[in-house]
């Protein structure tokens, strides 16, 4: 929220610098996001008196001799049509900074520095400025938008800095207001805090007004839905004269970014900014049956708002109606049908408290927002409702833009909106929360400054909560008021002085996850984190069939875009995208892993908490050398680290993995349970996305794997008897797989302790369709040392069985 220093000074006698005030505000909970001087971009501009002004022949230019007081006298060339000898204008000296304007002399195009120049052979040592060029407009300074020089008052002191003279020395505070302090969403609200922080009295704005003694007979205000509108006030103003607002009001509105429209509209905006109360004005002529009814809209009732948009309403929306029809969308925008026009004479002013949640809901549902709705969404209190109306009536009276009548209406559930709320809290509890003792006299001082009328009796602190402080309910709230004003520097760090000793750290499962990550990093993989949502297009990338369970994704109701609209059911699409991104950036090789949740529910918009399964995704890529076994090595390292044994099988239904190479992919199992897959990316997908590269993807269901990751270490005795090694080379059909041969060998001999393939040969030296596989076999027995003869018999039996089962022959 923007608050001008000059406006604040109307209510508080501020005797600190703008920067000191910023610190005061910051310390008591109001962060000033930016503090800027209104004329920050203008410098070196002084009051210049044109002593002589001679036209330059055949041009529109004049050459002027300008007296700039203490700065000297300068010759300045000027093209403005209103320059004349004896006039006082803003003179930008050489080295000054002013705004640069486009050819139209109105549109600002950044800033410029004034240099010595020469025009038509005449030296020019500076520039005489327009209002626009020094950052003014008509609202900030009347006449500033004239397309020529800004004419300064005759009594302007020659050579004086221009800024204080035209109000450019003002400071603008952009303050962020926390959600618990809607009462500070106004200049007066901030002024209250400033007064408390500086220990100064608050000067309330004038609220008095004269009435013309008349009454509006037969007018009625009814609030049907008090749950959505706890307070509704209206006042009748006659003989309204629509005109321009006075300069001081236009200037203030301009400072907070509101363009002046007309006195009546300006007054409502002024009260919104000053008091924080949104107001509305109806043209009495348009109110049928001379009444106002506040009620829920009927189903399919319609309204056209001031901006000429039509809305179809329902009973969730609160409307202000006359005797027949809605004339305003409560708290959001007035209806076109009751708009103030140039010939409006009789007006009903509205000041109300509409419940913030209802305004929010309606505003969101209809997509219709306004300054008013934004203010109501934060929460307006009934105190402001009453104050705002009084202030508006005062301004009408002061500006003479209408006669205030006796007809005021106030419909409210609470009798007195100015009543304070008594609250008594324990000082001991406050100190226990803060951990320090705030001295009683400080408590009294702080709460008095905040207008809480404190009284202390023993441990009991009694206060009267001001009506606008709806956020104050209990001892912690009072504790916060005290400490923010007393100062957080009084908090002295302690280290859980009174707390119980507890045993901390990760549990076994959390430790194993960290070990898993470190194991993968040790395999040369970098941990990646990707968004938990993606697009159905990402599943298209992997050609996941439309009817596949992986397509059953949870959909976000309000996604940022379709690209981030469904919750991940698998991690691989994100991983492939990461690989593609890397390759496109010229990273020729790498390895990535991600551990993240996948989300599963039968419903697109689940009614119950969906299943979150943890998954591990792996992606390897390089310039083409990468093989399936590089990926398998990573999984085997993982298995080894956790003393597990994975088995790999070609997928029985490869159509489940349409993104993988059908011949170079496997289903991974553990303990007979399928836990994931691994494979090279399909050729055509590789060619399309990352040509001339090789990509391996794998994904494991970590939730299924988790129980195995916490397996404790069990020690195994070393063998008592020596191991005997033999190598065999087998000639078998290419179709025979290694795992089957190994299984057969192990079945054939219980003393075969370990078997490992160490060479594969296919080629000219052997028959087509066959392969030569060389294995190392390690034999040992637990009860005796094996003899050569025994081992020879084992090998013979193994070869015999291999021959029978696979037509394998020894090579």
């Amino acid at each position: 929220m923007i608050v001008p220093l000059s406006w604040l000074k109307e209510y508080v006698d501020i005797d600190v610098t703008p920067q000191e005030l910023e610190t005061k505000l910051f310390d008591c909970g109001f962060e000033v996001e930016t503090l800027t001087e209104l004329g920050a971009e203008v410098s070196g501009v002084v009051v210049g008196l044109v002593e002589q002004c001679e036209p330059i022949p055949d041009t529109h230019l004049h050459v002027c001799q300008v007296d700039c007081g203490e700065h000297g006298k300068f010759q300045i060339c000027c093209g403005a049509d209103n320059v004349k000898a004896g006039g006082k204008y803003p003179a930008a000296l050489v080295g000054a900074q002013v705004y640069a304007t486009a050819k139209d002399h109105v549109t600002i195009e950044g800033t410029m520095r004034i240099k010595k120049g020469k025009l038509k052979g005449f030296e020019s040592q500076g520039m005489l400025c327009s209002g626009i060029e020094i950052g003014l407009n008509d609202d900030l300074y009347p006449g500033a938008e004239y397309c020529g020089l800004l004419v300064l008052p005759e009594d302007a002191p020659v050579g004086a800095d221009i800024k204080p003279l035209v109000g450019l020395d003002d400071w603008m505070y952009d303050i962020s207001i926390t959600a618990n302090r809607p009462d500070c969403m106004s200049v007066l609200g901030i002024a209250r805090e400033v007064a408390a922080a500086l220990g100064k009295p608050l000067k309330m704005p004038a609220l008095d007004y004269k009435t013309d003694g008349t009454k509006l007979d037969g007018f009625k205000v009814t609030v049907e839905d008090t749950d959505l509108c706890p307070r509704y006030q209206a006042h009748y103003v006659r003989n309204v004269k629509i005109a321009q607002s006075p300069a001081w009001m236009r200037r203030r509105l301009a400072l907070v970014g509101i363009r002046s429209i007309s006195n009546i509209v300006d007054i409502t905006n002024y009260v919104l900014k000053e008091i924080g109360q949104p107001m509305h004005a109806f043209d009495l002529r348009q109110l049928e049956e001379k009444q106002i009814v506040v009620r829920r809209a009927k189903q399919d009732e319609t309204i056209v708002t001031l901006d000429e948009k039509e809305f179809k309403l329902n009973p969730n929306n609160l409307v202000i109606c006359d005797g027949k029809k809605p004339v305003a969308l409560a708290g959001i925008m007035g209806g076109l049908n009751s708009e103030i026009k140039d010939d409006t004479a009789d007006v009903v002013f509205e000041s109300a408290k509409f419940m913030r949640d209802n305004v929010r809901k309606t505003s969101r549902a209809l997509g219709q927002h306004s300054d008013s709705s934004q203010r109501f969404e934060k929460g307006v209190d009934e105190y402001a409702t009453q104050l705002g109306l009084k202030r508006a009536l005062h301004l009408i009276d002061e500006l003479g833009c209408g006669s205030v009548t006796e007809s005021g209406f106030a419909e409210s559930v609470s009798a007195d909106p100015t009543a304070t709320r008594p609250l008594t809290v324990s000082i001991a509890k406050i100190n226990a929360l803060l951990g320090i003792t705030v001295p009683d006299d400080e408590i009294i001082r702080i709460l008095t400054n905040l207008d809480f009328a404190p009284q202390i009796s023993g441990d009991a602190l009694s206060v009267q909560v001001p009506p606008y402080r709806e956020d104050i309910e209990n001892a912690p709230d009072i504790a916060e008021e005290l400490i923010r004003m007393y100062g957080y520097q009084h908090i002295t760090p302690t280290f859980l002085a009174a707390a119980s000793v507890t045993n901390g750290g990760r549990n076994a499962a959390q430790n194993s996850l960290l070990k898993l990550k470190r194991t993968l990093a040790a395999q040369g993989l970098c941990e990646a984190i990707h968004y938990s949502f993606y697009s159905p297009k990402d599943l298209d990338l992997l050609r996941i069939p439309q009817d596949a369970p992986l397509r059953q994704a949870i959909r976000i109701l309000n996604p940022i875009s379709e690209d981030l609209s469904i919750m991940r059911t698998m991690l691989a699409p994100s991983m492939l995208n990461a690989v593609i991104r890397n390759v496109r950036r010229g990273n020729d090789e790498g390895g990535l892993f991600e551990i993240a949740k996948t989300y599963h529910s039968a419903e697109e918009h689940p009614s119950e908490e969906p299943e979150e399964r943890e998954a591990l995704s792996i992606g390897l890529f390089d310039g083409g050398k990468l093989s399936f076994f590089d990926g398998k090595a990573v999984l085997e390292a993982l298995a080894a680290a956790f003393r597990l044994s994975f088995t790999y099988k070609k997928p029985e239904n490869p159509e489940k993995y349409p993104f993988l190479h059908p011949g170079m992919s496997a289903v991974v199992s553990l303990d007979g349970q399928e836990i994931g897959w691994i494979g090279m990316l399909a050729h055509d997908l590789t060619d399309a996305e990352v040509p001339e590269h090789a990509v391996l993807l794998a994904e494991l269901d970590l939730t299924a794997l988790r129980p195995y990751l916490c397996k404790p270490v069990t020690f195994e005795m070393l063998p008592k008897f020596p191991v005997v090694q033999r190598d065999i080379a087998l000639l078998v059909s290419e179709k025979v797989i290694c795992a089957d041969l190994e299984a057969c060998m192990k079945r054939s001999c219980k003393s075969l302790n370990q078997v490992r393939l160490f060479d594969v040969y296919k080629g000219k030296q052997i028959e087509a369709g066959k392969q030569s596989l060389a294995f190392s076999l390690w034999f040992r027995s637990d009860d005796h040392a094996l003899t050569d003869q025994e081992v020879d018999q084992f090998v013979a039996k193994i070869l015999k069985n291999l021959g029978k089962e696979f037509e394998a022959t020894q090579r």
């Binding site: 910051f26 909970g29 926390t178 959600a179 618990n180 913030r356 949640d357 929360l433 803060l434 951990g435 320090i436 001892a475 912690p476 916060e480 923010r484 957080y488 760090p493 302690t494 280290f495 859980l496 002085a497 009174a498 707390a499 507890t502 045993n503 901390g504 750290g505 990760r506 959390q510 470190r518 990093a521 040369g524 993989l525 970098c526 941990e527 990646a528 984190i529 990707h530 968004y531 938990s532 959909r555 976000i556 109701l557 940022i560 981030l564 919750m567 990461a578 991104r581 890397n582 990273n587 790498g590 390895g591 990535l592 993240a596 989300y599 689940p606 009614s607 908490e609 969906p610 979150e612």
Partner: protein
């Protein structure tokens, strides 16, 4: 006899002189010293043909020969082996400046590194780790945290909903409620995890990570909160780094504070990192709101507590000097591989 012995000695010396290979030398040695077939051994056998008187003298000179031969061959062997080793070493010279085969080096994500660091710090203070679901119900994420539906504080966080009642959690604070509902104080938990907000621009990511801390026990004060945060700041950002509390607002804490650390880059003098303020905002915290305690069945007359929450990416970016949050989610291996532990 002696002549014979001398001849054999010369014979050995001349044969050895012609040999340059240690294996051949070994063969020569065997010819003379083999127990069964060696020529010196054969001399010993000849002793049987001598009279008992001659035997001692003969035995002596044969033994002398044998001792000489053993020493001779040992010396020959050492000489040849040394030469052979020198020759082998000379043939095996390498260029040590040639590159080693590439070993890909992996790394944990900066978020993981920061989370680990925080967990280590707080584990030492007695915190355990709690991880809640990422798709939360509205109650845990907002209502129980004193943020009823349509409370203006919900504006602070634009929320992704997956159904009217379920949302992507906007804060790890949701975990507070789950823990307090199921655990009696004393409670000291850390709750790390992903959170989601509908915000996507240069400085915001729609997904990021938070680390939440919660302590509930008898006699917990705001002073304890600052004491613990001082410890955190020193550990994460370095000795001498201080914390500053300033008033703020969160619906689930009262009083609420924003916590700044003194700028670890300039020591508080003012620099680009701290935007010339000397302080860097790192987290939000406060005393657990009585209403939140009551919502979880904890008696605020008996127990008090504090909670704090920080953005892990923010800490990572500050600590490592990462300029853009998006870099953390792009998986560029040139970025990620820099974070080797």
């Amino acid at each position: 006899m002696e002549k014979q012995i001398k001849a054999m000695r010369e014979e050995i010396e001349s044969a050895a002189a012609a040999i340059t290979d240690s294996k051949e030398m070994y063969q020569l040695r065997k010819q003379y010293l083999d127990n069964k077939s060696g020529k010196i051994s054969a001399l010993m056998k000849n002793m049987r043909d001598l009279s008992p008187e001659e035997r001692p003298a003969f035995g002596k000179i044969v033994n002398e020969l044998k001792t000489w031969a053993l020493d001779f061959f040992t010396a020959q062997d050492s000489r040849l082996k040394a030469a052979e080793l020198a020759e082998k070493n000379a043939a095996e010279q390498i260029d040590v400046t040639m590159p080693a085969p590439a070993v890909r080096s992996g790394a944990l994500h900066p978020n993981t590194l920061i989370a680990n660091e925080l967990i280590e710090i707080f584990a030492g203070m007695g915190f355990t780790i709690f991880e809640g679901p990422e798709i939360e119900n509205d109650y845990y994420n907002f209502t129980a945290l004193n943020t009823p539906k349509d409370h203006p504080a919900r504006d602070m966080q634009d929320t992704f909903y997956v159904s009217p009642e379920l949302l992507l959690r906007t804060q790890t604070s949701a975990g507070q409620i789950r823990v307090m509902e199921n655990t009696k104080p004393p409670i000291k938990i850390l709750s790390p995890g992903k959170v989601f907000r509908s915000d996507d621009d240069a400085t915001h990511s729609p997904m990021f990570s938070q680390m939440e801390g919660l302590v509930v026990d008898k006699g917990i004060t705001l002073c304890d909160l600052q004491g613990m945060l001082d410890e955190f700041a020193r550990n994460v950002f370095g000795e001498g780094v201080r914390t500053r509390l300033r008033p703020s607002y969160f619906p689930f804490t009262e009083p609420s504070v924003e916590v700044d650390v003194s700028c670890f880059e300039c020591g508080g003098k003012g620099c680009r990192l701290c935007k010339d303020t000397g302080w860097i905002e790192v987290l939000g915290a406060g005393m657990v709101n009585w209403k939140v305690l009551e919502n979880c069945g904890v008696d605020p007359d008996v127990y008090t507590g504090f909670a704090f929450g920080m953005g892990i990416e923010r800490i990572a970016m500050l600590k490592y000097g990462i300029p853009n949050i998006k870099m953390l989610f792009e998986s560029d291996v040139r970025v990620l591989s820099q974070f080797r532990e």
